[in-house]
């Protein structure tokens, strides 16, 4: 059996703590998005949806209490659709799609909403109550290393210059700015309406409406010179800066995955097919190199050659990490992150996997391309990669 994607949408990505999406909870944001997606299919009875699976990297506080189930209850106006939350850090949003596809391929389900949602405004990296395992903390502290420190470790191992990292970051912004100017994301973004209640300077409760429909991360004024002047943030003597790392972000993205049977019932044309997905483990301290093992693995499992891949969304956790992966696998930069990556557009952790899939599908459709891939490195030493066939 085959798993098809018939809808792929995302919110714009907000700047964590500064942007307008800081004002909305991730479950609310996801529920609004889900409503929009379902609204496109008048033939679809909500109760026929078998499951809602949401990826989230820090499932606690606002993102706790099985957010997946709450998104289902709020977004589908029915108590009959279950919901779950999955966590594989930065690949959570790809993992949710893979789980949905596997269920469908196994015949366990016909219609699943799979996505990701994350508010880094509300939940910090690591969560609110970080309690490592004492034995690990003593014997293998690098398993808990801050992601920035792992990026520095990668820099040392692969010897990637600060200049190359900054150039990479600069281009990410340039590409994203151009993409926005050319309306490349217009089809995939669902505008989110946020009502802001706040006390104004006259001590009066005021209400303001915001419609968020454009990614907030890309900066027109970023210059190579400006990037080169930033101080390293994770290692005092290092090369990784706020400018050549991904941004912290808020956002949600969902796809609707269906079986062939459901496709016919709904009389819909698929926009993509889920081909395959692989995850691998690597040294936790070299977490960023994860795609180097995940990409060959997924290619091998799918029987697809690397040169058949026409577009790659490679999550830019850090410029140094993306560069190391590209150099190791000899990846063509011209087909990678063609509308910019997470350094410019942001990286809402658990949402990212779905968000990149949504971007990939829409851009490849416009270009009438066939095979595309989404890949990312994952915290504590993992890599993930998924292949999609676009129609």
């Amino acid at each position: 059996m085959t798993a098809y994607i018939i809808a792929a949408k995302r919110t714009a990505v907000g700047k964590a703590k500064k942007g307008k999406l800081r004002l909305i909870r991730p479950d609310d944001m996801a529920a609004k998005l889900v409503q929009e997606i379902i609204g496109q299919f008048p033939m679809l009875d909500n109760t026929q949806i078998d499951d809602v699976i949401v990826g989230n990297a820090m499932p606690e506080a606002e993102q706790g209490l099985n957010m997946g189930r709450m998104i289902s209850l709020m977004g589908l106006n029915s108590v009959n659709v279950p919901g779950m939350t999955v966590n594989r850090y930065c690949s959570s949003g790809l993992e949710s799609i893979a789980i949905a596809a596997s269920k469908i391929e196994m015949g366990l389900a016909d219609c699943i909403l799979a996505g990701g949602a994350e508010s880094m405004s509300m939940i910090p990296m690591g969560g609110w109550r970080v309690v490592p395992n004492l034995n690990i903390a003593k014997d293998n502290p690098d398993w808990y290393w801050n992601m920035g420190i792992t990026a520095e470790a990668l820099q040392k191992k692969y010897n990637i210059s600060r200049e190359d990292q900054d150039k990479f970051a600069f281009h990410s912004h340039q590409k994203a700015i151009e993409a926005i100017a050319n309306n490349r994301f217009a089809d995939e973004i669902v505008p989110i309406r946020v009502i802001e209640n706040f006390v104004n300077e006259n001590d009066i409760l005021e209400q303001k409406e915001h419609i968020i429909s454009q990614d907030e991360g890309p900066r027109k004024d970023t210059t190579l010179d400006g990037l080169s002047k930033l101080r390293p943030v994770f290692d005092m003597k290092g090369t990784v800066t706020a400018g050549n790392s991904s941004q912290t972000s808020d956002g949600a993205a969902f796809v609707l995955v269906v079986s062939e049977k459901k496709l016919k019932e709904l009389n819909e044309e698929p926009i993509a097919r889920f081909v395959n997905y692989a995850v691998t483990g690597v040294e936790p301290k070299h977490m960023g190199i994860g795609p180097v093992t995940a990409i060959p693995k997924v290619l091998k499992r799918s029987g697809i050659a690397i040169n058949q891949i026409e577009q790659l969304e490679l999550n830019e956790a850090f410029a140094v990490q993306a560069l190391a992966v590209m150099r190791e696998l000899n990846i063509n930069p011209d087909i990678t992150n063609i509308n910019g990556g997470a350094i410019a557009l942001g990286h809402p952790l658990g949402c990212t996997g779905t968000k990149l899939t949504v971007q990939l599908i829409h851009e490849m459709k416009k270009r009438k391309q066939k095979y595309g891939m989404v890949s990312m490195c994952v915290g504590s030493g993992q890599g993930a990669a998924g292949i999609f066939e676009i129609f």
Binding site: R129, V131, P141, Y144, W145
Partner: protein, 800 residues
């Protein structure tokens, strides 16, 4: 007299105005800070499409000046958040708001016309009986008061703050003939109690008291340098700490203040002074004029008497100016025999005596310097003030001199100095000769109060206001109950005694430990409360590392353990004594000094108290109960269901990063002071009296000592795991060294109570044992010894 100050308007947001505003905010007053509006839009405003009437544009100058002030180091605010107490505005729109203010302080540019025009506008809005004062340093106050209304004149005087106003103690008050007596009284009272200033009332003479004498002194040093052919570097060595003046001595101070500013005052004085016998001293020598022409003004133009450069190895190096060649030269290693001989004498007056006695070039320099100064100040009475103590007070508070010139003169003896002065052609005022004949001194002590020689009555009079506070210096000779090398126990009366440290930097060694035990014994036997305070430069720089180092080097670990145990026991005795114990720290209260404060029933801290548990810098952990107290305070803070790990992290990082508060307010945030229990006093002068009153109140209320807790909540593995993991990350990120990581983990083991499986409750003794064992264990490490050695020998913290 029933005035209240709730709101103050500061007009002028320049470097002084904005900082004065900050200091009022520091003490909890609402401030309105105004300055002029721009006459032209800047690029950004044009881009935003704003016009000159837009509020953002109108307040731009005030905002810019204020933000610049907030970046100053040392910080003008006790705490960053206090900036919110200051409202910014501009003269055009916001001047009417001064009608709500209780005090208006004018700090605009030093120009008579501008000031007078502003005063006219102030008259429109100022409510009657509102204080209106000027911070001018150059314009006669009488001139400024002209043409004003009756009520304005009655409430008008000069209030001259010194830069930086938070830190420099002097506030000169200059009345006019019309200023009401009660206005002066109130401002003096408020300045002293609320703003923590040394208030000196002055006559309306050019540059008032401190700048008149201070600039004279600086200029005379410059002339002496030329005359006797000394280098800039030599002069600074000779005119710094060795003679009780700031470390920045003469020329480094010039560089910081700005040569143009100083010359401006000197030239004004030169013009304004008619009957000053030393008028020519204010003439600017050619070399200084050349520096002005070259714009070598000091820090603000990046070069002055000194210049910081990067040498070939990329390290910064300080060069000093050769005024003959106008080249900057590397600093020399100066060996001056007279200096070395005096340096070892702990008492300033003895050092000065040593430096001026003899016939060498150096001796002669000092004779000319001091005798010239003595002659000058004696001749300024009654011109600038009738009261000689005011000159001393102004120089100490405004120029940070350790002892005033009259007091130094007393210590040298009039009969000895006057003949020498005459020989050098310097002539003191006639009244000094009269005093000499009568064998009088400038000062004397009477019933614990300092008295000064009054030239009008030819009698000694108690310095006004001195009955309002307690000075250990004045009562030490009559009220000492017990003393050893390191400390003294002084009776404050009313059943309260004070333990005063007086060791070098007030470091805590066996003498002070003995003193604390003795003070507890004496209080228990005959008194009702104990205060720990002193009048040294610092409350205490911490435990005497020398002793620890010696025992560690000799591998006398058992004895070391005993020493630490004695310290811990002494802290517990302070804590559980059956009477109130109050610490009244000021300036540095580090390491052991901080631990002493933390074990008292109450801390009455001076606002300028820099507290910290800084033991990690010398390779150990706080083992005098400091870590234990932090664990206890953490336990008291945690409420059911709190995310306690984050509170633990904050406490751990405070000791782990050896954080030192930049004010007593910050010491609350860091957990060195306890909210709702410990208190802050802004007036250093009144601190001890207030501490005594607090002790008496505690007795009055009925005092019971605390009971040793056995239920201190510690986090065990939950906390410790974070320490291991966090310390590793910090080390990998090059924020701390491998050895810092090691010590941090040792610290974490105490603060968390060790590898306990669950959150548990432990006793003080359990934690004190951990502290002590860890301390002794760390003292067996080579790297700890290297750290101690570095501090002892080079005075530097080594991060090995």
């Amino acid at each position: 007299m029933n005035y209240k100050i709730n709101k103050v308007a500061v007009l002028g947001a320049g470097v002084m105005g904005a900082q004065i505003a900050c200091h009022f905010a520091n003490i909890g007053v609402q401030v309105l800070l105004l300055d002029i509006s721009p006459k032209e839009l800047n690029d950004e405003e044009i881009k935003l499409g704003l016009d000159l009437n837009h509020p953002q544009v109108k307040n731009r100058i005030t905002h810019e000046l204020f933000n610049r002030t907030l970046k100053l180091k040392p910080d003008p605010l006790y705490k960053k958040e206090f900036a919110q107490r200051i409202t910014l505005g501009n003269f055009d729109d916001d001047l009417p708001k001064i009608s709500d203010c209780d005090w208006i302080i004018e700090v605009v540019v030093e120009n008579l016309d501008i000031k007078k025009t502003l005063y006219e506008k102030i008259e429109l809005y100022r409510k009657e009986n509102t204080f209106i004062t000027t911070n001018t340093s150059g314009i006669p106050i009488q001139l400024l008061a002209q043409d004003r209304s009756e009520n304005f004149k009655q409430y008008f005087c000069g209030t001259h703050f010194f830069n930086p106003p938070r830190y420099l103690k002097l506030l000169e008050i200059i009345p006019t003939k019309e200023t009401l007596e009660e206005v002066l009284e109130f401002i003096s009272y408020y300045g002293e109690r609320f703003l923590g200033k040394s208030v000196v009332s002055c006559k309306d003479t050019p540059a008032f008291i401190a700048n008149r004498v201070g600039i004279y002194s600086m200029m005379s040093v410059v002339h002496l340098m030329e005359e006797m052919d000394f280098s800039v570097q030599e002069i600074d060595k000779l005119t710094g700490i060795i003679i009780g003046r700031p470390k920045s001595a003469t020329f480094r101070t010039c560089d910081v203040v700005g040569l143009d500013t100083l010359v401006f005052v000197a030239q004004n004085l030169q013009k304004a002074l008619l009957n000053d016998e030393a008028k020519e001293t204010f003439l600017v020598p050619e070399s200084i004029q050349k520096m002005l022409d070259l714009k070598w003004l000091g820090s603000k133009t990046k070069q002055g008497f000194y210049k910081k450069v990067k040498n070939e190895d990329g390290e910064s190096e300080i060069l000093s100016l050769n005024l003959n060649t106008f080249d900057y030269q590397p600093m020399q290693k100066l060996k001056i025999a007279e200096f070395e001989k005096a340096k070892v004498l702990p008492e300033l007056t003895k050092r000065i005596k040593s430096l001026i006695s003899g016939n060498s070039k150096i001796n002669l320099f000092y004779q000319k310097l001091f005798f010239g100064l003595f002659a000058y100040i004696s001749n300024r009475i009654p011109e600038i003030t009738d009261d000689l103590y005011k000159i001393d007070e102004a120089m100490c508070a405004g120029f940070a001199w350790e002892i005033g010139p009259f007091e130094i003169w007393d210590s040298l003896g009039l009969d000895k100095t006057i003949p020498q002065m005459e020989e050098l052609g310097m002539k003191p005022a006639a009244w000094v000769y009269e005093m000499m004949e009568k064998k009088e001194s400038f000062y004397q002590l009477q019933n614990g109060h300092q008295q000064y020689y009054d030239i009008n009555t030819n009698k000694h009079i108690t310095i006004p206001g001195s009955e309002q506070f307690i000075s250990l210096k004045n009562i030490r000779s009559s009220q000492t109950l017990w003393q050893n090398e390191g400390c003294s126990i002084i009776n404050l009366g009313d059943g309260v005694i004070n333990l005063e440290f007086h060791s070098k930097m007030n470091t805590i060694g066996s003498e002070i430990i003995q003193g604390i035990n003795k003070a507890i014994e004496i209080t228990e036997a005959d008194h009702q409360a104990l205060i720990i305070s002193n009048e040294g430069d610092h409350f205490s720089a911490g435990a005497n590392i020398g002793l620890v180092f010696m025992l560690a080097i000799e591998q006398e670990y058992e004895e070391l353990d005993m020493v630490v145990k004695t310290f811990q026991n002494t802290m517990l005795k302070l804590k559980y004594a059956p009477f109130p114990v109050i610490a009244a720290p000021h300036n540095m209260a580090l390491g052991g000094g901080c631990e002493i404060s933390m074990h008292c029933d109450k801390v009455i801290a001076h606002a300028e108290t820099y507290m910290g548990l800084v033991e990690l810098g010398v390779g150990v952990i706080p083992a005098g109960g400091g870590t234990k107290e932090f664990a206890l305070r953490l336990s008291n803070e945690i409420k059911t269901d709190d995310v306690r790990i984050n509170r633990f992290r904050d406490k751990f990082l405070t000791i782990g990063q050896a954080k030192v508060s930049t004010s007593a307010w910050e010491a609350f945030d860091l957990g060195y002071l306890r909210k709702d229990l410990d208190e802050i006093v802004v007036s250093r002068k009144h601190q001890l009296k207030y501490a005594k009153q607090a002790a008496l109140l505690m007795i009055e209320k009925g005092y019971t000592p605390p009971i040793p807790p056995k239920d201190i909540t510690v986090l065990g593995q939950e906390g410790l795991s974070l320490v291991y993991s966090g310390a590793d990350g910090m080390q990998v990120g090059n924020y701390i060294s491998e050895y810092d990581k090691h010590i941090s983990i040792e610290l974490g083991k105490i603060l968390s109570g060790g590898e306990l499986n669950e959150v548990s409750q432990v006793s003080e003794d359990y934690l004190l044992n951990l502290e002590r064992k860890t301390f002794v264990k760390l003292c067996q490490q080579k790297k700890t010894l290297e750290r101690m050695q570095s501090l002892l020998q080079k005075g530097k913290i080594l991060r090995n």
